[in-house]
């Protein structure tokens, strides 16, 4: 038994994290995200040059052929660096095509989806679940009662940008004329449930990365900010709040690792483990970001302090594909079943 990342997975996470922190620091991303004409394509391209778009795509179509855990490791790094862009939705939509598409659909779409030359967006429902990166997508994967359908971008697709609170991950409303949609013939409700479970893991991983960054930023601040002639990190009140923050954040890592591994290994209860990880870590993320802002004092309430970017990402992670309370009610029957 070993419950740890492989050296390759470790390297993937470190590489993505290092790339974001050095090339695209949060403050610069935020400024660019507010600029009207900057769609941050260089970040998308830079991340895909590291192989991100195709991590879980079949090798025959140019992907790396890896699993959910590898995706999740990348997602944690994106969360840590507050990466802008639509990777989350792209990954989920691409998975649906790879697993549910016909031979011709796969041949048409997967090479571009693997390299990132083609962007996919996931339209989960018409009940308000936002479409991540709806504007700028080349192809839309729509969940239906029977599975998934697919439509290329074009006049049949209407995208309405919503004024999202998370500037790093814009949200859209997407409507598609029925005539433009064609089914993914091998997709069914099981595949939809699988894609949702992968989504739960990837959101949990993003939330873990973001919460960890909130902890790291707060610890760093406590080691530089002085009041009453000493570092605030010397005050026990601050130490204890940081220790509680570590307690809130750090044990979550194994929770999402386990869920990712369970999906890859087809373990029983994998979907419930994914929902549990998502509810626990996304919940913790909001609390962690709040605590981190408090720990930064007046500076924490300013636009200049990076932490608000994480607080807003936490709000998206909390809500997307099921809020913590709904997910808990959903898996209660499984968790509480008599042994």
């Amino acid at each position: 038994m070993n419950f740890e990342l492989s050296p390759e997975q470790q390297l993937l996470g470190d590489t993505v994290r290092g790339y974001l922190l050095t090339e695209h620091p949060v403050a610069r991303i935020l400024a660019r995200a507010e600029a009207p004409d900057d769609n941050l394509d260089d970040v998308w391209d830079g991340l895909n040059a590291l192989g991100l778009a195709g991590i879980a795509m079949p090798e025959e179509f140019g992907g790396l052929g890896l699993g959910v855990l590898d995706l999740a490791v990348a997602a944690e790094a994106l969360g840590y660096g507050a990466a802008p862009g639509p990777h989350l939705g792209h990954w989920l939509a691409s998975l649906a095509v790879a697993r549910g598409g016909s031979a011709s659909q796969r041949a048409r779409w997967l090479p571009g989806l693997s390299s990132g030359a083609t962007r996919a967006a996931l339209v989960w429902d018409d009940a308000g679940t936002p479409v991540l990166g709806g504007a700028g997508a080349d192809v839309y994967v729509v969940r239906t009662a029977a599975g998934f359908e697919i439509a290329a971008a074009g006049p049949a697709v209407t995208v309405r940008r919503r004024p999202g609170i998370d500037l790093t991950r814009p949200i859209d409303e997407v409507t598609i004329e029925a005539a433009a949609l064609e089914p993914l013939p091998a997709a069914d409700s099981d595949l939809a449930a699988y894609v949702r479970a992968v989504g739960h893991v990837l959101v949990a991983a993003d939330a873990f990365g973001g919460a960890l960054r909130c902890l790291d930023l707060s610890v760093a601040y406590a080691k530089t900010r002085r009041q009453w002639g000493q570092l605030i990190g010397q005050f026990q009140a601050v130490k204890h709040q940081l220790a509680d923050l570590a307690l809130l954040v750090e044990p979550g890592r194994g929770l999402y690792w386990y869920a990712a591994h369970a999906l890859d290994a087809y373990r029983l209860g994998a979907a419930e483990a994914a929902a549990l990880a998502k509810s626990h870590i996304a919940d913790s993320y909001v609390r962690a970001a709040r605590s981190a802002i408090e720990l930064h004092g007046g500076f924490g309430y300013t636009w200049e302090c990076d932490v608000h970017v994480y607080l807003k990402r936490a709000l998206l992670d909390r809500e997307y594909l099921g809020d913590p309370e709904s997910l808990r009610q959903e898996i209660a029957a499984h968790v509480l079943a008599p042994a």
Partner: protein, 392 residues
């Protein structure tokens, strides 16, 4: 990542089961002689006291947390006795194996692992709890003996203990921790007086221990003079890891779910209440996080920084889970939570008050939660020491 046990561990599990089939009869669990023989057989089979050398009554196995876990699981499944409980086996034995002389190990380890010798821990004093370095009990050499004077407090199981391991000030000219030594002391002697303390539960499981010219041979100093602090750290580290076993949480959670199934709330089982369900699943998230964190710590790469920081969180995580369990239990108990569980020999659901009170003990024993937070902040997060700078 690979969570399968692998053929080696599957084979080992099979061996443990076969051993239990041959050697364990659950209907004889109350027969002390039978249990003692069972433990001897389990040691001979390499299953119990895996970290204790064979020459001192253990089975001398290479450290392997997964094998240890297989043993706990399989023994637990048929309710077979594991190692003798208490601070003697959990704390003193590891300390003597690291610091003791051959003579000390010879004298104490074999009889402690069989349960023949029972131990208590003499650390805390009325004015030295979290600030253990400030303790005042003194020990001076008089002829071939240490003569010990002082008072220990909150000393668990001291009424039944044969021996105490304690910290005393032997180097009065040295500051704080540098003046402390680690001594072993026989409890049954005129200089040792045990006065039971009544706990908030009403029962007496710990005591004050008054030491008035209590005597112990000079050969029962463990480590060097003035090294007591370092020696005692071994025991505290052992205690923190034993306090945090995730299996305890899983068993507690299963019991709590059963409680919510049999207690009623608004005329139906509490488990059908959406609020109760939500809180149970939230608690389950914490318990799963604890289990997964333990898996990370049991993995081959656990010496790296991440798992080390996780290890510092174990005690506080365990405390947090115990508190959450107690809150849910209290809510579903309703008026039954007003009954004293000690009032009858077979209490009903009010026995959950024992867990409710015990969860407070978890937060205090072996280093209070606030001391844990200092340790996490200073050692785990690298924050500067505060003005007192007195953390272990």
């Amino acid at each position: 990542m690979d969570l399968s046990e692998g053929p080696e561990y599957e084979r080992f599990r099979g061996e443990v089961r076969a051993f239990l089939d041959r050697h364990w009869q659950p209907d004889r669990a109350a027969d002390d002689d039978y249990v003692a023989k069972f433990r001897r057989d389990a040691v001979a089979a390499g299953l119990l006291y895996r970290g204790v050398p064979e020459s001192y009554g253990g089975s001398g196995q290479a450290p392997d947390p997964l094998r240890a876990q297989v043993v706990r699981e399989e023994f637990g499944r048929v309710r077979a006795p594991l190692e003798v409980g208490g601070v003697g086996t959990a704390l003193l034995v590891p300390t003597l194996l690291q610091w003791g002389t051959p003579a000390q190990r010879e004298q104490f380890v074999p009889r402690t692992v069989t349960g023949e010798l029972r131990w208590c821990q003499g650390y805390s004093e009325p004015d030295a709890g979290s600030d253990l370095e400030g303790l005042r009990t003194t020990a001076v050499v008089d002829g071939g003996e240490w003569v010990i004077n002082g008072q220990k407090v909150w000393t668990s199981n001291s009424m039944r203990a044969d021996w105490m391991f304690l910290l005393a000030r032997t180097e009065p000219d040295q500051p704080r921790r540098a003046g402390l030594s680690y001594l072993l002391l026989a409890m049954h002697q005129p200089g040792v007086e045990v006065r039971p303390l009544r706990q908030l539960t009403g029962s007496s499981e710990f005591s004050e221990v008054f030491l008035t010219d209590a005597r112990t041979p000079v050969g029962l100093l463990v480590g060097e003079r003035g090294q007591g602090w370092a020696v005692s750290r071994t025991t505290l580290a052992a205690e923190r890891s034993t306090l945090a076993a995730p299996e305890t949480s899983a068993a507690l959670f299963a019991s709590l779910v059963k409680l919510t199934r049999r207690r009623e709330r608004n005329g139906r089982p509490a488990i059908d209440d959406p609020g109760v369900r939500s809180r149970l699943v939230e608690l389950h998230g914490w318990i799963e996080a604890q289990r997964c964190s333990a898996l990370i710590q049991a993995s081959p790469g656990a010496r790296s920084e991440g798992p080390q920081r996780l290890a510092l969180l174990n005690k506080l995580l365990h405390t947090e889970i115990a508190r959450r369990v107690s809150e849910i239990a209290l809510d579903v108990l309703g008026p039954a939570g007003l009954l004293d569980p000690r009032a009858t020999t077979r209490p009903g659901d009010e026995r959950w008050l024992n867990q409710f009170f015990g969860s407070l003990g978890v937060a205090i024993a072996g280093g209070t939660s606030n001391i844990q937070r200092n340790i996490i902040a200073e050692r785990g997060l690298g924050l500067p020491r505060d003005a007192q700078g007195a953390q272990p």
